[in-house]
């Protein structure tokens, strides 16, 4: 049992931190205000190899472990929730399923471009009628000769429109299971620019406002037969397994947001004076900070443990669910208290702490709500 990071991880963290401080932090407020996707930052991250951290070197990645990737998302989130989720969705939700379930041809075709950041990835599962109940899919894929024909739409897709490669989940038929009719769900790789694949609404969000969240529309969109990912009918399992990994990314994002808020708050309470002394000298401030720091530390250990589980275990659903559930709720609580300790200034956009509170809320919702994580955890407990 060793809780210290080794040299390799320390160096990686220092690199992420430096990049976040110098390249991401100065733009964070502008990205939030303008709701514009930080394309230049993404190009810089591609150059540094941040978009293929856990991808083996032979596929053009950095060949690092999941913990290194987790720390990258965490460090980015300390200064900008938007930038963190761009990396997370691209890596966990698009590259990971292709690496895990793709054929050698698919990996060769897609992964090098994605890992190098020449292309960006996204994941399309959610629909207006299928959120938590992901089985409620309406999007259909029908085999016609040697092409799949997709019809339907997806909503709330992170990296939508800016991404080039999309993992799309769709219904490919109806199967009888123990006398009950069930949807047969499969997953596909769909490229931007395919005729019949367009983008609908850009969502206006409360937080992570620079993240490009779009509706995807498929109208008789034809893709080659070989673009099915994994076996026909295995799509739901692929989606669920992909989300297990994605939850570690979101847990890291939540952790980073909480840490960033805590760091800023510690600095602020030392400077701010009332009643002739710094507000850090009031016991309420001290105890609040103690609680915040303790929770952040507990969250960090859960997140890192989940990242290690992904590196060493076949199944890590429960570890990922616990990490995401706890880190997200800690992020919400810590950012809320951080705004309070900033007083009136905390409510002003110039001070950025309110942005962290807005960004924190989504971590309790996307890639499976906190309630879904509780379902996963209790389901495992009571099996």
């Amino acid at each position: 049992m060793d809780f210290a990071l080794d040299k390799k991880h320390e160096m990686a963290r220092a690199l992420f931190k430096e990049f976040a401080e110098n390249e991401v932090k100065p733009l964070a407020q502008d990205v939030d205000e303008t709701e514009e996707f930080p394309a230049e930052t993404v190009a810089k991250m591609a150059k540094y190899g941040f978009l293929g951290i856990p991808v083996p070197k032979e596929y053009g990645g950095q060949g690092c472990d999941p913990l290194t990737y987790t720390m990258c998302v965490e460090e980015l989130a300390k200064v900008c929730g938007t930038t963190a989720v761009i990396v997370s969705a691209h890596t966990s939700l698009c590259i990971d399923p292709i690496m895990t379930y793709g054929t050698e041809e698919q990996k060769q075709k897609y992964v090098p471009d994605l890992a190098s950041g020449r292309k960006l990835g996204a994941f399309g599962l959610t629909e207006p009628g299928a959120g938590t109940d992901a089985q409620g899919q309406q999007t259909k894929a029908v085999l016609d000769g040697d092409e799949w024909v997709l019809n339907g739409s997806k909503c709330f897709i992170t990296n939508g429109k800016v991404a080039d490669v999309y993992i799309i989940i769709a219904v490919t038929g109806i199967i009888e299971k123990r006398g009950r009719k069930m949807k047969e769900i499969s997953s596909f790789i769909v490229e931007k620019g395919t005729p019949g694949f367009s983008f609908g609404t850009k969502e206006k969000k409360m937080g992570i406002r620079g993240s490009s969240t779009y509706e995807l529309i498929f109208e008789d969109c034809r893709i080659p037969k070989e673009n099915i990912l994994g076996a026909q009918g295995k799509g739901f399992g692929i989606a669920m397994h992909t989300l297990d990994g994605g939850r570690i990314g979101i847990a890291a994002q939540a952790l980073g947001i909480a840490e960033g808020a805590l760091e800023r708050t510690v600095a602020y309470v030392k400077e701010r004076k009332q009643f002739g002394r710094s507000i850090a000298q009031f016991q309420n401030t001290q105890f609040q900070l103690a609680d915040m720091a303790t929770k952040v530390e507990a969250a960090r250990l859960l997140v890192y443990k989940a990242a290690m589980a992904k590196a060493t275990q076949r199944s890590y659903s429960v570890e990922a669910a616990k990490a995401k559930l706890y880190a997200a709720e800690v992020a919400m609580e810590v950012t809320t208290k951080a705004v309070q300790l900033h007083g009136g200034y905390g409510y002003i956009r110039e001070y950025e702490i309110e942005r962290m509170m807005r960004d924190a809320k989504i971590t309790e919702i996307y890639e499976g709500t906190s309630e879904v994580q509780r379902m996963v955890i209790s389901g495992d407990l009571l099996k």
């Binding site: 207006p128 009628g129 259909k140 739409s153 609908g200 529309i217």
Partner: protein, 347 residues
């Protein structure tokens, strides 16, 4: 009150600008049925100024008798002289049943008159029939026959009440427009016309009409529309909304849309139905090329009748639709418009 004295089914034949309103003919159609059941006659009461010429038209739609109250005071509808006129008609002719259209005018006039002649009024009826009261015999209570049973939705349509008026005459009802059927015109029919003058003495209850403004609906509020023809992404283009507009025109309805259509910039936001748009409750809602996600359905599921047209038979819209057609809206909608126009002409 001697109930035996009261005879005949009377309708108030509303006219505006000396033109009979459609509701007058609908009421006559229903009155004919009721009079048949009661073995009595149908009379129309028409009130206005210079309106004697309307009698034949009323006869053609089923009136056997027309009572005309013609006076310059009655040129434009005003509560006091009209209520006085109709009350006096009732006092003189003693109708068994008095029907009034539940229009803006009728809803104002009906209650005034019922209070003056001291009888019961049921408002906004959707069904009228002759039957027994109580409907099922109650021990120790006399069951009266040949009563007018008036049925109306109450509490915003959430309950249906059937109401009778056993002890007073006439039995009065205002009737919802568009519910009753007019009869086919009887060419060359003549009615027995009686002129009646109750005498008008203007007093301070007589309001002065300053100005009558004819509504020109430039901008429509989809929340008020009785019929909505709503299009979704499946319509394909803003130009293609023309076929929906034609259908709406044929039906006297309005066009609305889903969020996808607004997002694409095809229609303005104030036509959007759904959770983030408007909640509508029309009598008929056409959902055309709309998949029927809950975000949309939440805004229209209260419509009385939902008709869905979609090429995907598994679209969720069919779960809430009363009628559905699976197919290409580009073929179905123009055909529907054609058929509706043809049906309207033959009416």
């Amino acid at each position: 009150m001697n109930l035996e004295e009261y005879k005949g089914v009377y309708v108030f034949a509303e006219q505006v600008d000396n033109k009979l309103s459609g509701i007058a003919f609908e009421l006559l159609g229903k009155a004919k049925d009721l009079a048949g059941d009661l073995d009595t006659y149908v009379a129309a009461v028409v009130i206005g100024s210079e309106i004697k010429g309307l009698a034949d038209e009323l006869a053609a739609h089923g009136a056997e008798k027309v009572i005309v109250v013609d006076d310059p005071e009655l040129k434009v509808y005003r509560t006091e002289p009209y209520a006085h006129a109709l009350s006096e008609v009732i006092n003189k002719y003693k109708p068994e049943i008095m029907l009034v259209g539940a229009t803006a005018i009728g809803r104002d006039l009906g209650p005034r008159v019922s209070a003056r002649v001291a009888t019961g009024l049921t408002a906004d009826c959707t069904q009228l029939e002759i039957g027994d009261f109580p409907i099922n015999p109650v021990a120790g209570k006399e069951q009266k026959h040949n009563q007018l049973l008036m049925t109306r939705p109450a509490f915003g349509g959430n309950t249906i009440a059937t109401i009778a008026c056993p002890d007073n005459r006439p039995q009065m009802a205002t009737v919802r427009p568009g519910v009753m059927q007019k009869i086919d015109k009887i060419e060359g029919a003549k009615a027995e016309v009686e002129e009646f003058n109750p005498g008008f003495t203007p007093d301070n209850k007589y309001v002065e009409i300053m100005d009558v403004v004819k509504a020109v609906s430039e901008t429509v509020d989809i929340m008020d529309a009785k019929i909505l023809v709503s299009g979704g992404r499946g319509v394909g283009s803003p130009e293609n909304f023309r076929i929906l507009e034609e259908l709406a025109e044929a039906l006297g309805g309005e066009v609305s849309c889903s969020r996808a259509v607004v997002d694409n910039g095809w229609k303005p936001k104030d036509l959007q139905v759904g959770q983030t748009g408007k909640t509508v409750r029309p009598q008929v809602y056409f959902a055309i090329g709309i998949s029927g996600a809950i975000q949309h359905v939440a805004g229209m599921e209260e419509a009385d009748v939902i008709i869905a047209i979609n090429k995907d038979e598994t679209a969720p819209i069919f779960d809430v639709a009363d009628y559905g057609i699976v197919g290409d809206l580009n073929k179905i909608v123009p055909e529907l418009t054609k058929q509706i126009k043809a049906a309207a002409i033959s009416k």
